[in-house]
Symmetry: C2
Subunit: 291 residues, 2 copies
């Protein structure tokens, strides 16, 4: 079987089934980040990549590529309730590229690092015989009381998303802001039961959160916060929204919505459905890395 006949979730399940862990590992693969014990605290670990021809194009400005590469990983650290700490950057690049491309990439990386308090502590730069490839590994820390996984959702929880969904390819995917201030505020004031960032599209990501929580879900399609000019299908399936999806007790909903408006007047917060026992098939699919 080839990878494109199988699909991403099945591939990941197949390769992560027998991985080696010891007792330091609190949460292994399958959530936005891994969680390990280190030095008396909890460390978050995330790796991610952007590939030329997939996540950016040969003529995408390198500074934007750098920003995107680091912010994708920051978005995952935020979605677990954590703070990003130290990043390591691996770049495989054609020897034909000008040095200016690489320095521009690092300007973008550095700008995101400064904005979100990340240290760029290490890197590896190799030759690529093909497209440029950038991997970002990012550590973070999280207080035990603030850790939010995908798995804590409960039947009846309201489902919220931040911002607007769909159409990211129009530009947002290169310049988005990871929702770090928002997750800090949420975990301090309205701790979600379950949370994740929306990277592959709601149609792919929500079923993952529900599955991890052992529930089904219902979406109120008419309530979806669509980016201007986008259809419901695009809001569900375009992917690369880098917004938050979280599940929270129904009874805190009204106060959450009111307080959110004061805290983040520029960013929409929308109740898009609930965790239920129903397990609907939703189409179209969000982004699958192998299909």
């Amino acid at each position: 079987m080839k990878l494109n006949e199988i699909g991403e979730d099945a591939v990941v399940e197949s390769i992560t089934r027998d991985l080696r862990f010891d007792e330091r590992v609190e949460i292994g693969p399958g959530d936005d980040c891994a969680v390990v014990r280190f030095g008396g605290g909890l460390q978050l670990l995330k790796t991610d990549c952007v590939v030329e021809g997939i996540h950016f194009l040969a003529d995408t400005p390198a500074q934007a590529v750098g920003w995107k590469a680091l912010c994708r990983a920051i978005s995952d650290i935020a979605a677990m309730g954590g703070d990003p700490l130290d990043a390591m950057i691996t770049v495989a690049v054609s020897p034909d590229r000008p040095l200016a491309w690489l320095t521009d990439l690092y300007i973008g990386l550095n700008r995101a690092a400064a904005r979100y308090g990340v240290n760029l502590v290490g890197g590896e730069t190799s030759r690529s015989p093909g497209p440029t490839f950038i991997a970002v590994a990012l550590t973070g820390k999280v207080d035990k009381e603030r850790l939010v996984t995908r798995a804590g959702g409960m039947l009846g929880d309201r489902l919220y998303v931040t911002g607007e969904l769909g159409g990211s390819i129009g530009g947002k995917h290169l310049g988005f802001e990871p929702r770090l201030a928002e997750t800090r505020w949420l975990t301090a004031n309205f701790p979600p039961h379950a949370m994740m960032d929306l990277s592959d599209g709601l149609a792919s990501d929500l079923p993952r959160l529900a599955k991890a929580s052992g529930t089904g879900f219902e979406i109120e399609f008419s309530a979806l916060p669509k980016t201007a000019g986008c259809s419901v299908e695009q809001a569900l399936a375009d992917g690369e929204d880098y917004e938050l999806l979280f599940a929270i007790s129904e009874n805190v909903g009204p106060k959450l919505e009111k307080d959110w408006q004061h805290a983040f007047p520029e960013l929409a917060l929308t109740c898009i459905g609930r965790l239920t026992e129903t397990k609907p098939e939703i189409h179209p699919h969000g982004y699958d890395h192998f299909r």
Copy 2:
């Protein structure tokens, strides 16, 4: 200027000049690993990659690729005097590859993880429009008293290498064992002043150690431990030896050599020169990623 006109060290220097750090960072880019403070201890952070067509071939057995990818990073953690902890794997792979290739890769990764006590805590698998690319990010811990950098070498120190140099492409590069037991023993019994692992070849790596230590060096070419069938040039420049290079006080040399033979009877330890004030040009160069 294109990358292949500049050379690896100049490229790295150019992109790491203005990186953003805070006071948690003890050692940034430029050594085998970065060192950061975390939870009251010191954490080592390393990223590395292997690229199809550069570090392995399309028909290299995937299990060997997995072993190599993780062991390269373990070798760097060892060279700082640390113990490896948690690894994150990023793979960009053609959708045409069979699933068996990816599961074999993970068998090799998992075997190395089990052998050296590493947790494979996370991964990202993406599509590649070209060659397969594997990045490994690895954390480690190190006691402050056991931390060894490239920078502590002193004038008059003896230079030692483990094992034999050259000819790694004949097979060793796929099946080498990172020198973790050896660095644990060294840092406990004969703490080196400076240490690194030999990945690009002695001709490239030794000048880096000497430069970081603010010294020059002399090599006794006739003493170089050459792999059977290899020339001095190959021992200097082939690269991918994954042996240790370290600098240590001249006066501990005799006892070190004697005790080493008891501790590691199967692994040669060879004095190959000294740190001096001389700064020779040595040719041929070791491996440069952009030339």
